[in-house]
Amino acid sequence: MEGCPRNICPKLLDLIPQGREWYHEENNNTDQEKKLELRLGPPGGYEEDRSAKKNTETRNNNIMKEQTEISSPSKNHLSPCNKANVSHISQKRTAPGPVVGWPPVRSFRKNLASTSSSKLGNESSHVSHINKNGDGVTQVEPKREGMFVKINMDSVPIGRKIDLNAYNSYEQLSFAVDKLFRGLLAAQRDTSSGEREEKPIIGLLDGKGEFTLTYEDNEGDKMLVGDVPWQMFISSVKRLRVIKSSEISSALRFGCRRR
């Protein structure tokens, strides 16, 4: 994926067209420009594509949901709120980033790469794509594309999304969480003092800070971040939550919904 880290400067991100936004043009798109557009099919006249034009607003909403959860600025930039304004987009490339629940495969079918035996009897070229490394062994690899999980923080009403594949360690993650929420937290606490004092958010992993980082795993259990090896954490984490350290025991107790 692109090198631009998605959790920093979301507004800047909005201004940089990437992925399908290149093709998202205003209404005065001429035929000439159309022919120069990159497409999936063979080049040539696409008169019938007028019928394939879609209301992009919903999709743009989805794209924005994937990238950040800050609503108003990004929304207004890319998607005109007017429902009637159907942008004339003929071909669509698939949007960058994974979408929740798509493709519609149940979770126990998704872990095949890690649980199934790695060796194939005959390595024909048909299945060479399954062998991620050339030595004939499929590895348990983290997905290369963005692995976005929601992250919320106590006392901050707006949640964010964070790309866990951008980090290799808990320290990096902790640092990213600080950068993500420092400003928002200060904004929340800003009362009548008029001054926004931005305190760094530290001690997320050792219980010593004001906040602690927790996560919900694929079984719905709430856990403290940092106990298991990083790769194991990556493979089971579903969402993150930054809670007040004073509330650790109650949050974890009520978090488990089984038994």
Binding site: S51, N55, T94, S116, S117, V127, H129, R258
Partner: protein, 611 residues
């Protein structure tokens, strides 16, 4: 997990009028208050007895629903004689209503969460709890024998209550359920002495580190079917082996991946009467003490009755040929957990002439599908799952495989196919070659992807399917689709009961075509499509006749949803948001609405707003 037939609950109005009627006690000589004038000649109770003796033979749900609508007497007697109840939506009625109408229920089939919840489109703890049902039935139906649940939250306490309340309990089937663990299963195993069926299918079962296999009673069991392939916990193999030996009626056994190939081998030697086997992990432990490898093929050869084979988790493909002795008899083969290349696959499938149901991963490639088409002339159901379920992964199967299947397997009835590229031509061919299709579910994994050869939308392909497959009742669409595709669905899809739409359509007209054109539509699930208020309003004449409507990430406004809720009081309209919902959001995130005889549910969590 085949789809259901028609819903059992009648339209709300009937039941309301029945509620108003209170039957007064009367002397036997006087005929009771009954609409049917024919009862004037005979005392009512005689007619009732006759009817009871006749109606008890009626098995089909649709027949029973029809019979119950004849008159009040038939309603009552049918209610007394119905022993198997199907409830397609657990919130369509309350458990009390069930026990009031049907007095002698032996078997309950209950479905809970909507299907899209399987794909994380719904926050957890939405509902669909078994608890109120089991506690109500515990008092009303002590003779209950069978419970079949799908997408229901079942706790260990619920299972314990079940085990203790129903002494004659025989069959427990949990499909896509969650909320319980091995400790709950242990109680069922231990207390239900007449247990014939314990099937845990695609459910989430927590590992409570309980040796539940050892909890079965010591003497000969009644077990006919034991399926625990979804239980992600090690089991006591010695206890399992002993259990199999003392279960002479055992026909179906599905093991989990913690049972090794050697252990399967031993089980097979002790249970040659099996008809359905789900192997555990299909790999040989090279570190084992035995000098010689067990003769796996011999064990399979001894199982002359096996017709259904599944499992193959953690497959070592070089051991696959061990199953060859049973292949000629197989009617059902599930390779959907096994990463098998075409070269390993073809020798196996070439012997499976009787195959009717085939599930596999797309790792067998188009080449493997061509082999299936060449051999499996009796094929009825095909499911191809993606090994790498991402939008931009390489797709080893394509229109070539589907086309081959359509040409070779003319009796095909049900298709589920995940791929990365498809053409209209292949779908058109399938629509002509396979007229028996009742279920067609195609998932082109890249969103909005057109026909990869012509670049056009997939309208004509799906149009041909709905037009030519006259028996089609279930359809799931994907790829680039315009309103035209939906126009076809509305025009030709007269038998469609279940429709699944994602990332498709251009405008409200698309949904309108479907709502106005498909009279049998029962279950509608839509995500990420540009359908708004106009479309929603256009279906108001249908919603009472449907089981549910799901629309997420569409363009519905809260105001319109409220209007619908106001106009249709027996419709429960749920709006579901996520925890961090932005209150300024223009559109409703998720709408889930369904008819209900008993009003909105009381157990809705915080993130659900019932309008």
């Amino acid at each position: 997990m085949s789809e259901d037939e028609e819903d059992q609950s009648p339209p709300p109005s009937d039941l309301r009028s029945q509620q108003q009627q209170q039957r007064p006690p009367c002397s036997p000589n006087k005929s009771r208050n009954c609409i049917s004038s024919s009862s004037q000649t005979f005392p009512d109770h005689v007619l009732e007895n006759v009817l009871e003796n006749v109606l008890q033979f009626l098995e089909s749900r649709t027949d029973r629903n029809a019979a119950s609508l004849v008159c009040k007497l038939w309603w009552k007697v049918e209610g007394l004689t119905r022993s198997e109840v199907f409830i397609g939506n657990c919130y369509a009625l309350s458990p009390t209503r069930l026990t009031q109408r049907f007095k002698r229920v032996r078997s309950l089939l209950l479905k809970g969460k909507p299907r899209f919840a399987d794909f994380n489109l719904m926050p957890p703890d939405w509902g669909a709890n078994f608890a109120p049902w089991v506690s109500t039935m515990a008092k009303a139906y002590p003779w209950l024998e069978k419970v079949d649940l799908k997408r229901i939250f079942v706790s260990d306490d619920d299972l314990a209550l079940l085990a203790h309340s129903f002494p004659g309990f025989k069959e427990l089937i949990l499909v896509c359920c969650e909320g319980f663990g091995t400790s709950g299963i242990a109680v069922v195993a231990n207390k239900c002495r007449k247990l014939k069926v314990l099937d845990l299918i695609e459910s989430e079962v927590t590992d409570d580190e309980v040796d539940w296999i050892s909890c079965f009673p010591e003497d000969v069991t009644c077990l006919e079917s034991l399926a625990f392939d979804c239980v992600e916990a090690p089991i006591n193999f010695k206890a399992l082996e002993a259990l199999v030996i003392r279960s002479p009626f055992l026909r179906k056994l599905r093991l989990n991946r913690f049972v090794s190939l050697e252990e399967v081998h031993r089980l097979l030697l002790g249970a040659p009467q099996l008809t359905s086997l789900g192997t555990g992990s299909f790999k040989h432990d090279n570190q084992s003490e035995q000098e010689q490898e067990p003769d796996y093929a011999a064990a399979f050869r001894a199982c002359k009755s096996v017709v259904c084979l599944s499992g193959f988790r953690e497959l070592m493909p070089e051991y696959l040929p061990a199953i060859l002795p049973v292949c000629a008899n197989l009617t059902s083969l599930n390779f959907s957990y096994a990463n098998i290349s075409p070269d390993m696959f073809k020798p196996i499938i070439h012997t499976c002439h009787k195959l009717q149901v085939f599930w596999a991963l797309d790792s067998i490639c188009d080449e493997g599908l061509q082999a299936v088409a060449a051999t499996c002339k009796e094929l009825r159901e095909l499911r191809i799952f993606p090994f790498d379920p991402r939008e931009d992964s390489e797709g080893p199967v394509s229109e070539l495989g589907l086309q081959a299947i359509s040409e070779g397997c003319r009796k095909l009835e049900s298709v589920l196919y995940f791929c990365q590229r498809m053409t209209n031509a292949a779908l058109i061919a399938m629509s002509h070659n396979c007229p028996e299709l009742t279920v067609f579910r195609l998932c082109i994994m890249g969103r909005h992807r057109p026909d990869h050869v012509t670049g056009k939308a997939m309208d004509e392909g799906f149009g041909a399917i709905v037009k030519n497959c006259k028996k089609l009742t279930r359809l799931a669409v994907s790829g680039l689709l315009t309103d035209q595709a939906f126009r076809y669905m509305g025009e030709y899809g007269k038998l469609i009961r279940t429709l699944s739409v994602a990332f498709a359509g251009d405008s409200d007209m698309a949904l309108r075509h479907v709502l106005e054109g498909c009279p049998r539509l029962q279950k509608l699930e839509i995500r990420d499509s540009p359908f708004g208020d106009v479309a929603l309003r256009s279906g108001m004449h249908r919603y009472y006749n449907m089981r549910f409507v799901w629309m997420s990430a569409c363009s519905l406004s809260m105001g319109c949803c409220k209007d619908v809720a106001r106009a249709m009081p027996n419709l429960v309209v749920e709006v579901i948001g996520s925890d961090d919902d932005d209150e300024n959001r223009e559109f409703v995130e998720t709408l889930y609405m369904y008819r209900s005889l008993d009003g909105p549910r009381k157990d809705a969590p915080q993130f659900v707003t019932i309008l």
